[in-house]
């Protein structure tokens, strides 16, 4: 790959992202540049279009090439019960409060292939109120959403997931919730009945209303401060008063504009509760 001077490269990347925004409406201009650049390198290697202007030209004309670009822009790495202690904390600190509601809504924003949403469904089931809950699992990667909707995953990760599940306070065995054939597992349909997978772009789409709990884990790290603030304020508008926000283990509300609207529920595991009404 030809080495460009850093400043030139930044300018070229900026033009590329602007062009894409114009043509397709996807806005990546406020993504963290360093990791975005690594993903762009993969697109460049894949397409053999190493010059950014040439790549933009192709993207402009070729929608299939844009699909490929989008796929590369979405990091689908995820796990069931990732950071088990977080789920334990949700079980112990949030669930008892949520149980006092007749019906609750949970939003997994940036759900990737849906493992997180199934984890939550299992947790709610074991706490005995899955029937009173609706889980919205959204992402801007349509292919990931299809995987989630199918509920079919590779069996090779189930060992890790089963260990996570138990560490998260699981009351049975993870394998009680799926059936296997060959190297695939399919999660039971009763879980999926409570999950709605749908397309939502956090950058450009609006409020997703009246949530009791929003889980947005390992998504904000891909955004710069400006976009983080934008998305967080979208969350404040989408949460019910007293609703909960659960971020990734290395994400926090420190130094964000919405910080004062929340009180920490579990500082270590980045769980917050919205205490203030909007725009106060």
């Amino acid at each position: 790959m030809p080495l460009l001077k850093t400043d030139d490269e930044s300018t070229e990347i900026e033009s590329l992202l602007k062009g894409i925004h114009e043509r397709y409406g996807y806005d990546f201009t406020h993504y963290s540049q360093a990791s975005l650049k690594r993903r762009l390198n993969r697109v460049r290697e894949h397409t053999k279009l190493f010059s950014y202007p040439e790549l933009l030209e192709r993207l402009y004309q070729d929608e299939q090439c844009f699909d490929l670009f989008l796929k590369h822009m979405s990091i689908t790495v995820t796990e069931m019960f990732r950071d088990p202690a977080v789920y334990l904390s949700i079980r112990e600190k949030i669930i008892p409060i949520l149980k006092t509601f007749p019906f609750i809504k949970i939003w997994h924003a940036g759900c990737a292939t849906g493992e997180e949403a199934y984890s939550m469904a299992i947790l709610l089931h074991e706490e005995g109120f899955l029937d009173r809950a609706r889980i919205y699992a959204t992402d801007f990667n349509k292919q990931s959403l299809e995987t989630g909707q199918a509920g079919i995953y590779s069996s090779k990760n189930m060992g890790t997931y089963a260990a996570n599940y138990l560490a998260a306070g699981g009351k049975k065995n993870l394998s009680d919730y799926y059936s296997s054939s060959y190297d695939l597992v399919k999660f039971d349909d009763f879980l999926k009945e409570h999950i709605t997978f749908s397309y939502h772009n956090l950058v450009t789409d609006g409020v997703f209303g009246e949530m009791n709990l929003i889980c947005c884990r390992n998504v904000l790290i891909y955004f710069d401060k400006v976009l983080q603030d934008h998305v967080l304020s979208l969350f404040t508008e989408s949460l019910r008063h007293g609703g909960f926000l659960c971020l990734g283990s290395k994400e926090s509300l420190n130094f964000t504009k919405v910080k004062k609207m929340f009180e920490p529920v579990d500082t270590k595991y980045r769980i917050y509760r919205m205490t203030e009404a909007l725009h106060v």
Partner: protein, 198 residues
């Protein structure tokens, strides 16, 4: 004038960090970003421990945190650590690189883009080849490359891979690294010429 130091360690790295970081003076002016390969479940104990025995502050790097001079930052377990053009950190959970997350190459690659010739890269003990691509890129950008002498490294594979990958400015015993950094970090003493001596 150097602006930052990046450091990569794998197997055997704890002992090396315990030698280098506490030997840096409290006045050390540059930020140091460190990737030590570590189990995904570990919880930041290493940074806390190193902080207790060092003159400079040591902490786990946080997402979008500004790099401060005279502070050592460790990549959190399970996250890649990257440096942005505006001198802040970003974290990511992208795929593993060289089977590692955090990966040394990922840190070095992003740091080389930002600091170019004003960067010092150091590859130390370890059992895989992570870091050698990154160190090569640092050299290509005009930065300074330091490698632990494989003969004295607890696990020589990683420093040897770095040696094979690019031209190295200093091949050193661990005990020599902090004194050299202290010297290179000193501002306004023509220390940038040091490279030509090596």
């Amino acid at each position: 004038m150097y602006e930052a130091v990046v450091m990569g360690l794998s197997a055997g790295g704890m002992n090396v960090l315990k030698t280098i970081i506490p030997a840096l003076p409290a006045t050390f002016p540059l930020p140091i970003a460190i990737v030590q390969h570590i189990a995904p479940s570990s919880d930041g104990y290493l940074a806390e421990y190193l902080g207790q025995i060092s003159a400079i502050p040591v902490k786990e790097a946080e997402d979008k945190e500004i790099l401060r001079g005279g502070t050592a930052y460790l990549a959190p377990a399970g996250y890649h650590l990257l440096i942005e053009a505006n001198r802040t950190f970003s974290l990511s959970i992208d795929e593993s690189v060289n089977y590692c997350c955090p990966s040394i190459d990922v840190l070095f690659d992003s740091a080389a883009d930002v600091y170019r010739q004003n960067l010092i890269g150091i590859v130390l003990t370890g059992a895989n080849a992570d870091g050698s691509k990154g160190l090569k890129k640092i050299k290509e950008g005009g930065g300074l490359a330091i490698v632990q002498d494989p003969l004295t490294a607890e696990v020589p594979y990683m420093p040897q891979a770095a040696l094979n990958a690019t031209v190295i400015d200093y091949i050193l015993d661990v005990s020599q690294i902090a004194p050299l950094l202290a010297r290179l970090g000193k501002v306004g003493e023509g220390e940038n010429n040091v490279r030509s001596i090596s």
